[in-house]
Symmetry: C2
Subunit: 475 residues, 2 copies
């Protein structure tokens, strides 16, 4: 067990906070609810950004930037939207030394300002589809903040698209959900469920919300990204009309979709252990750290030459030779373990003599001697293996903790016990969702796309079931 | 002359706005002073970011993210800083449906919040230097907004560093100034003057401000970036202390440095002409556009094959084949000219027959037939030539419009006439700066590093000169 990290089994919440702190990922800011993302945490975000940005651009969306200050009146234009977001808004009342005539909101999300601009830019079917993405900060007032998971200010990308038909908009919303699903699995090594949100859990102003839902190591669900079919709700509120091919005026069909710095919280809670952070190689700022074991009376120059040659043989941007003299090898082992570097290589005089190195993988903590001959290929393959192992481990955990339940007593026993995902029939009534929430704190995370032909009775009320639902407690 | 662009000689300000609009770079947002950066403008910013970010990281700085919300009390800690920035601040008074106990400022710059964190992170000389950079949005209330040049919200990078000695901090400030100077010249093709700001023009809270100053085509100066030696001003206000190698406690020596989306304004005003935007190839989102000239009765398949082969032979990320069928070649020529694409290639049936293409360069508008044999090399070299030509042209303009002046009547004649940069002796008194500003609107842009051994009398008051100063009207 690592110094200063509370064991996960003892206190999950403190374990999480300890990992964030020891890995120097983030800190609470002086303003309650806000966070400082430290360089190591931000480097993970940059890796997420770089890879996801490329995927988003491949779909044809273009990046742009819209203002953070939004007139209060804009928020009021879409009824559900204002109801959902007004309570979370931060309000600017003074600027340039004067009281403002109209208060300004700090964007909690940018549908309103972007739709205002869409209404100017879109005239004809030739202007469609219009697909915009923005990387930005947003503000949603948070009363119970947790670093990365719930913060008053967070970073995200938000995509906003307009289409000529409902079918095209629907296809776009599902395409982006698939981009997120694949990104979570292949880059973050986090398996996710996809499907539709129930009415009570959908985005304020959307027709449908499609989430990716992941299971954390405490068996709670974490909504890791969402894609929304907005239908014509915003285009009617903001008058986004176009002349279609038949010469008639029609409202645009819209989507929006986003993921946030919360993904970093998802990575931490999916893979880490009592020694600290565990990072999937794909998004690790440092994939390989080389630690020289300097011994008195040994040939230091020769040792450092071997270390430097190895560093130079591995990819420069993700390999670190930790040659700091003021820290001992043990201190360094602990630091890089806490920071979740996927592979550690130790080289001492004995290794130099034997033309070998000691390789430790972070995911399993297995250690072994490896020949320097062909080490580049060995490391390359081991990184792939670690990435795959993390995904497989998470998949197994998800499977092992997902239960098919037909009986409400069992439902309650699971939710009030160790927790997990419960797959069960649901009648479609909000009353039953509320009942389950009252009894167990669990909510419907998603209605999976893959639905059975026939539904059993609702697990809560016993009336005829309409949907297969996945219930869980969540972040 | 291009459709819809006011000639530069007729109305410089309208010319600028027309270019921004026709090239679809940005628009005014509904909140006065704010702007929407459209995809084509944002793609330029992404190119600036990508290249500058790599340069910043090469110096050893790491990216991080600090909150946009800053307690009002933080701003008050450094006396000059609050005096300079309080009048420009936007103030959040309500959040989460409640009036806040302490108003929050939207960051106008992040010295205060970052120094607060530095004071926690820095204990020992071992923690130094600490070099942090952030890409973020900032808010400074703007009464006379101009797209890219002066906006209430703008995007920027801000670097903040702590060092053990004044000498190291000074070296860092000058290193970053050199990074900016080289970036402006080599990437943006904008020659700049460097040096020190006068007391009255320096950053609020700095010991010294080092700017890069460029000359726009109306002969006004534009401050395109700044690097500040903050000395111990902020470390004393925020208690950033470290134990030095002798075991004594000392205040850290600091710098900060930044460039903003204003750079896009600088690019527009440095190179563009009456046909629209002219972009240096290094930061152009599209470097080469291929326009097929489809003629009736000609073999369209054969033509398009030639176009596609050429597109595939050139770098994918910066080459566009404009195969839209709903627009005529003339319409496309106009669009890409207005958008400043460095090279346009036209291919019609005659070119296909002759195994040639027509190449037009945007900077000089010269057109010529070029063989398809070896076209990749030709284009590559032409892009280099265009980049160099834009820099040389701007250098010549700067030189031609910089005047050594000893007489105040001549000074006023130049400033109240065509304008330009005036190099002249200055006594060092703010009264003379104010006099010049009252008489001509010109201010001291920079005291060049390269100073003569002896100074003539102050061009304004005639008393002994202490500095060679460069005066100009400015944005």
């Amino acid at each position: 067990m690592s110094k200063g990290i509370t064991p996960r089994a003892e206190d999950y919440s403190r374990w999480y906070n300890d990992i964030v702190q020891k890995a120097e990922l983030a800190e609470h800011a002086p303003v309650k609810g806000c966070m400082v993302i430290r360089p190591y945490g931000y480097a993970i975000w940059e890796n997420i950004q770089k890879r996801l940005d490329a995927r988003i651009k491949e779909t044809g969306a273009q990046n742009a930037y819209f203002p953070m200050l939004i007139p209060e009146s804009f928020l009021n234009k879409e009824a559900d939207h204002v109801e959902g977001f007004a309570p979370e808004c931060a309000v600017v009342t003074h600027g340039g030394g004067k009281k403002l005539e109209e208060p300004l909101m700090l964007r909690p999300t940018s549908e309103t300002i972007i739709c205002h601009m869409f209404s100017k830019w879109i005239q004809s079917w030739r202007d469609l589809p219009m697909m915009i993405n923005q990387w930005a900060n947003v503000i949603r007032w948070e009363k119970r903040p947790r670093l990365f998971l719930r913060t008053t200010e967070f970073l995200w990308q938000e995509g906003h698209t307009c289409h000529a038909t409902r079918e095209e908009a629907q296809a776009e919303a599902l395409q982006m959900l698939e981009v997120y699903r694949e990104f979570a699995e292949m880059q973050l090594a986090i398996p996710v469920l996809t499907g539709t949100k129930s009415e009570s859990e959908k985005f304020a102003g959307a027709v449908n919300t499609y989430p990716i839902e992941a299971m954390m190591q405490d068996r709670k669900a974490l909504q890791a990204g969402t894609s929304h079919l907005l239908g014509e709700n915003f285009s009617k509120a903001f008058d986004i009309k176009f002349q279609n091919k038949d010469g008639e005026m029609a409202y645009a069909w819209q989507t929006s979709w986003g993921v946030t710095t919360r993904l970093i919280g998802a990575v931490i809670m999916s893979h880490s252990d009592d020694n600290g952070l565990v990072l999937p190689p794909q998004i690790a700022p440092i994939r390989v750290v080389i630690v020289p074991i300097v011994k008195k009376d040994a040939d230091v120059t020769r040792l450092m030459t071997v270390c430097e040659n190895l560093r130079n043989a591995l990819p420069a941007s993700t390999t670190l030779l930790d040659d700091r003299e003021q820290y001992s090898p043990g201190w360094k082992f602990n630091e890089w373990e806490q920071k979740g570097v996927p592979i550690r290589i130790e080289i001492g005089p004995r290794e130099v003599d034997g033309n070998t190195v000691i390789v430790q993988r972070r995911d399993t903590l297995e250690k072994k001697a490896v020949s320097l001959e062909g080490i580049e290929t060995f490391i390359e393959e081991l990184l792939v293996e670690i990435q795959e192992n993390l995904l497989e481990r998470s998949k197994k955990f998800l499977t092992d903790n997902t239960f098919d339940v037909e009986d409400y007593a069992e439902f309650k026993k699971i939710m009030n016990g160790d927790g997990g995902f419960v797959r069960a029939s649901w009648c479609g009534e909000a009353a039953c969702e509320n009942q389950a929430k009252t009894d167990t704190m669990a909510t419907i995370r998603v209605l999976p796309f893959d639905q059975p032909d026939k539904h059993g009775p609702c697990v809560i009320c016993g009336k005829p079931g309409k949907h297969l639902a996945v219930f869980a407690k969540s972040y």
